[in-house]
């Protein structure tokens, strides 16, 4: 007689799971205190692509932010609390972002989400974070979507949004490259489209001779570059991530086409782009000097140059980099992550001796935060947008050389205006005062 047993085995297993889970779950809701905060620690979380197509460059942001917090912790922390950052690899896959963000909030009980990266990924967790009342700070994306204080009171952007940047670059093209024919090479999503929205506010439409989109993931851009070359544009504006700045340059090189390049800050970090240029050329069996190929590229920078160690912020970040993560190149991504990590420590310090989630949000809404940026933040009661602009910079000898004064604007119809206040220096020990 053979009675089949597997199903009853499964039932038994499930019952065991249920019993153990009850045992584990019951001891949880002991204190009514703020999640992620203890007498001497603050635990925060983040999702970042550490693997996959979006990883080059961006994967450095987790270790860089952590290095900055390690430095703060080694110097006594914020109000006596040490900051622990748990960053998880979502591989730029939104389904993973959702699961991992829920893990950070529901299981690891983090105080806040800080510096999570990517538009298509992070848009899917904004509702969850806001309905759970978890501060969702400094999303690493310039999408205009983070600035919705009414709908998403807990979500804050950090970098200048793509439209703001597009307006500043458009203003530059209008004034300095007047009458030249312009083409756009843009990423076919919110990033590229938000950027063009800003460009179109300034660049005369009759001079725009070609708009060519690319799909991230498809590395063959010959068709788009040929079309732009055929349009005989004198200036090409790149709303592209670093890999596509490099691909555009290499492909146009093959066609013997060399227009003036203007690029969004996202795709203009000289170290990342020149490294990619050399890698791509090597894969194709030739060798180039990446630094030479991006000579003269114009961009809008909102953080001080990487090589200017006379700047107190750069000196601070370089010191932390050399001490904690010397094996990672000191590039724009590292600078970026340390800078938003600084902003978080400042907001935390301002939330007082006993920080709450609402306290951090209120500290940001109060405004007046300072930091490594060349321009101020727009944070306030009715704005959750980050940096308000940037400064035109040209790449010379592999470095960004700034010109003129920093410029600020908004993502609407406001004008582009010079910002003349000097940048406040970094605190001597790198720790923000409350």
């Amino acid at each position: 007689m053979t009675v089949r047993r597997p199903v009853s085995v499964a039932v038994a297993l499930a019952a065991v799971v249920a019993l153990t889970a009850t045992a584990c779950a019951s001891g949880d809701d002991a204190a009514e205190s703020t999640p992620g905060i203890t007498a001497d620690t603050v635990t925060i979380g983040s999702t970042i692509p550490l693997t996959g197509t979006a990883a080059p460059g961006y994967s450095e942001q987790g270790p860089a932010a952590k290095a900055f917090f390690d430095y703060i912790n080694a110097n006594g922390g914020i109000n006596g609390r040490k900051i622990t950052l748990k960053y998880l690899d979502d591989a730029y896959n939104p389904a993973q972002t959702v699961t991992l963000t829920k893990q950070l909030v529901l299981q690891d009980k983090v105080f806040a989400i800080v510096g999570s990266l990517g538009t298509p990924t992070h848009t899917k967790v904004v509702d969850f974070l806001n309905s759970s009342r978890v501060p969702d700070l400094f999303v690493a994306s310039g999408c205009t979507c983070w600035d919705q204080p009414q709908k998403n009171p807990y979500t804050f952007g950090w970098q200048p949004d793509y439209t703001v940047e597009g307006k500043i670059l458009g203003d530059y093209v209008k004034k300095n490259l007047a009458g030249k024919k312009v083409a756009y090479f843009y990423q076919d999503d919110d990033f590229g489209r938000d950027g063009m929205k800003g460009l179109d506010k300034y660049i005369d439409q009759s001079l725009v001779v070609s708009r060519q989109p690319y799909q991230p993931g498809n590395t063959d851009v010959a068709a788009q570059v040929s079309a732009i070359a055929a349009s005989k544009a004198d200036v090409v504006v790149l709303e592209a991530i670093p890999a596509y700045t490099a691909l555009f340059k290499l492909t146009s090189l093959k066609l013997g086409y060399s227009p003036t390049l203007v690029a969004s800050s996202v795709g203009a970090d000289p170290i990342t782009v020149s490294g990619l240029l050399e890698n791509f050329a090597k894969q194709a069996g030739s060798s180039v000097k990446g630094q030479d190929l991006i000579e003269g590229l114009v961009t809008s920078a909102y953080l001080p140059p990487l090589d200017d160690t006379s700047n107190s912020w750069t000196a601070l970040f370089k010191k932390i980099h050399d001490q904690y993560i010397p094996n990672v190149p000191f590039d724009g991504n590292v600078y970026y992550a340390m800078a938003y990590a600084y902003t978080f420590t400042q907001a935390l310090a301002r939330a007082g001796q006993n920080p709450t989630r609402q306290g951090v949000v209120d500290a940001l809404k109060k405004g007046g935060l300072t930091g490594p940026g060349l321009v101020p933040f727009r944070y306030g009661a009715d704005s959750h947008a980050g940096y308000t602009g940037g400064q035109i910079a040209t790449i010379k000898d592999g470095k960004q050389v700034a010109s003129g004064t920093p410029l600020t604007t908004d993502d609407g119809d406001g004008p582009v205006t010079p910002y003349t206040q000097p940048q406040p220096p970094a605190p001597a020990n790198g720790i923000p005062a409350a």
Binding site: M1, T2, V3, R4, R5, P6, V7, V9, A10, V11, A14, A15, V17, A18, L19, A21, T22, A25, D28, L50, T51, A55, S59, G62, P63, K86, L88, D89, Y92, N93, P94, A95, V98, T99, K102, Q103, L106, Q107, T119, P120, T121, T123, K124, D127, F128, D188, D189, D190, Q215, P216, N327
Partner: protein, 356 residues
């Protein structure tokens, strides 16, 4: 009570497939209730993820294990199901049951279409064709004419109703979603278990063993293959609908080739052709990456190593399972069951019989 009288219900139990499956389904629902009420929110989320993965894997395991057709592209049907649910929830005010049925119907319809091609393709050709489907279909979302509808690379955000108020104001959303997914899994297993023991299940096995012999004995080979593909894709569509609700999204980035491959991995790990195996496989492919990532995080290693540790551990577990249970976990469970039976049940029976 004599052993003879006791044997009658046992015999009835064995003969009546429907009653057996119904009883087990009810048992499953009871277990579901107790498990979900005792788990915390994140564990309930994982439970829901296991359930929809198991639904898609169950469909795939019937296709590959019983009718012998391989599909490397089941993630595409999951994607279609997810987008269907997302669009129905966004544009039409249908109840959830109808929305999910919509995903089943659309997934099944597309699956039947693919099944027509699949019925003409064999082995590596079928694998290649379905692979192309998995790679190509999600990028349709970025096609110019469809971008406004499907949201392009950014995809759609799915907002489903919160738990009904009758359950109380503080009823956790995750537990509600675990209930929906668990109920769908029980229904799926019930339907598929009956199907595989029906005439069409027998036809599937015949087709898998020898197509010519099956055709000679009156089985319509192509029709069986098309129907199986359609059914399998319909459940993948259901899984996709649940995926959209649980993860609140439908975006091309979520339906990569690795989703299709992990469904196949789950089917093979659990034991190809076995529905219980589909559940075991789904548990492993859902929980393992999470555990290994946690382990790697605790070890505090350099990033280049840390990022790859989950993959390494995942690979190791695959190797161990495949070496230990070449026929999948379900074959191991069966062996264990037989062993226990030989040890404890048989001696008991012989003792009873001798006493009689």
């Amino acid at each position: 009570m004599t052993a003879l009288a006791a044997a009658a219900p046992v015999r009835f139990w064995q003969r009546s497939t429907l009653v057996r499956h119904l009883t087990l389904s009810v048992l499953g629902l009871i277990v579901l209730y107790f498990v979900t009420t005792s788990l915390d929110s994140f564990a309930n989320l994982q439970f829901a993820q296991i359930c929809y993965t198991a639904i898609a894997t169950a469909g795939l395991t019937v296709l590959s294990g019983l009718s012998g057709q391989i599909s490397l592209g089941h993630g595409a049907f999951v994607a279609v199901g997810a987008y269907t649910t997302a669009l129905l929830l966004e544009h039409l005010d249908w109840p959830l049951v109808l929305v999910l049925l919509g995903s089943v119907v659309v997934g099944g319809a597309l699956g039947s279409l693919v099944g027509v091609a699949a019925a003409r393709l064999r082995g590596p050709y079928l694998a290649g064709a379905t692979l192309a489907l998995a790679v190509g279909l999600p990028s349709l979302a970025d096609y110019h004419g469809l971008r406004d509808l499907l949201g392009g690379a950014n995809g759609l955000i799915v907002t489903s109703d919160p738990p009904p108020l009758s359950l109380g104001e503080t009823f956790p959303l995750e537990r509600w979603q675990a209930w929906i997914c668990g109920l769908c899994l029980v229904v799926t297993l019930f339907l598929l278990a009956n199907l595989t023991r029906s005439r069409i299940g027998r036809d599937m096995r015949l087709v898998r063993e020898d197509e010519q012999a099956a055709a000679l004995s009156g089985v319509h080979v192509a029709r069986t293959q098309i129907v199986t593909f359609g059914i399998s894709a319909a459940f993948a569509g259901l899984a996709g609908g649940l995926f959209a609700i649980v993860n609140s999204l439908a975006a091309p980035g979520a339906f990569t080739l690795s989703l299709s491959l992990s469904l196949l991995t789950a089917a093979v790990l659990g034991g190809l052709g076995s529905l219980a195996g589909a559940v075991y496989g789904a548990v492993i492919v859902t929980l393992l990456p999470n555990w290994t990532a946690d382990l790697a995080q605790q070890a505090d290693l350099p990033r280049a190593i840390y990022a790859n540790i989950p993959l390494v551990l995942y690979g190791l577990v695959l190797i161990v399972v495949i070496i230990a249970f070449p026929g999948g976990i379900q074959s191991g469970v069966r062996k264990l069951g037989a062993l226990l039976q030989a040890r404890f049940v048989r001696p008991l029976q012989t003792r009873q019989e001798t006493r009689r």
